[in-house]
Symmetry: C2
Subunit: 153 residues, 2 copies
């Protein structure tokens, strides 16, 4: 089933570029939705999950608000309140950096780490479910092509 049939569009795409553009969007919408559904019973959104994983990578050192936003998959213009929510649910804690009081360092809590551990299986299963049909070589090809697109700008 190609994308044209899938979205029931009568006229063919204007170009392969356009078809690729929409293909990426539609594919991500599917994957993102599947991830959100998997996370929902655990009470976190895909954005929150992304931030938590970033903070797990930073260990005890913690990261500032701006460092986190730079590493997020999608642009987050309101990271302050995203971190507010994570702090309110006890998954992270925050503390002014004594060395430079402009920064607020966020660190993942034990509870946050426990949640991520609990979710790691589900995530891996999700990745396999959706991407398992693509060989490792093809995955490399896909990853490479997408990287080239991101560089293009």
């Amino acid at each position: 089933m190609n994308l044209r049939d899938e979205i029931q569009q009568r006229r063919p795409f204007q170009s392969r570029e356009q078809e690729a553009f929409l293909s990426i969007g539609r594919t991500w919408a599917l994957l993102d939705h599947a991830l959100s559904e998997m996370l929902k019973p655990h009470g976190v959104t895909a954005t929150q999950y992304n931030a938590l994983r970033i903070l797990r990578g930073a260990k005890d050192v913690g990261l500032s608000r701006s460092e986190i936003t730079e590493r997020m998959v999608a642009r987050v213009p309101d990271a302050t309140r995203l971190l507010d929510r994570l702090e309110r649910t006890g998954l992270i804690d925050r503390q002014r950096d004594p060395a430079d009081r402009r920064f607020v360092k966020a660190r993942i809590t034990g509870q946050g780490l426990a949640l991520l551990d609990e979710l790691d299986d589900g995530t891996q299963t999700l990745h396999r479910e959706h991407l398992g049909c693509v060989s490792q070589e093809d995955l490399d090809t896909l990853i490479g092509l997408l990287a080239r697109i991101r560089e293009a700008v």
Copy 2:
């Protein structure tokens, strides 16, 4: 620059599947943001633009709310109010289907068509800017791989 460096993650990805998953998300975030920025001066969002293009494809016949949602790139749980906004700005009009009064047929207006005409150049330029670095063969490969992923579920 690979994705690992880009999001400054210390530890390598757990799997190629994970890297591909995140690559798709990050690439779409970039493309979607570029599209939104292009559209902003014209007063429409990417979602609204998507709906307008679907309605242009349907010509004078029009489409019902549910038919539109089925064809959207991303899932839209609140199409009623999306169409409200398009109607309020005069880009579409709506009318109860006399044959089956449960349906409300939306049709693109002359003003809506004019806006799309105005935007077609910008869209094409955008596609070329971001995807022009990829050969037609590679675009086919990319399109095919993404289609396989969408079928997988």
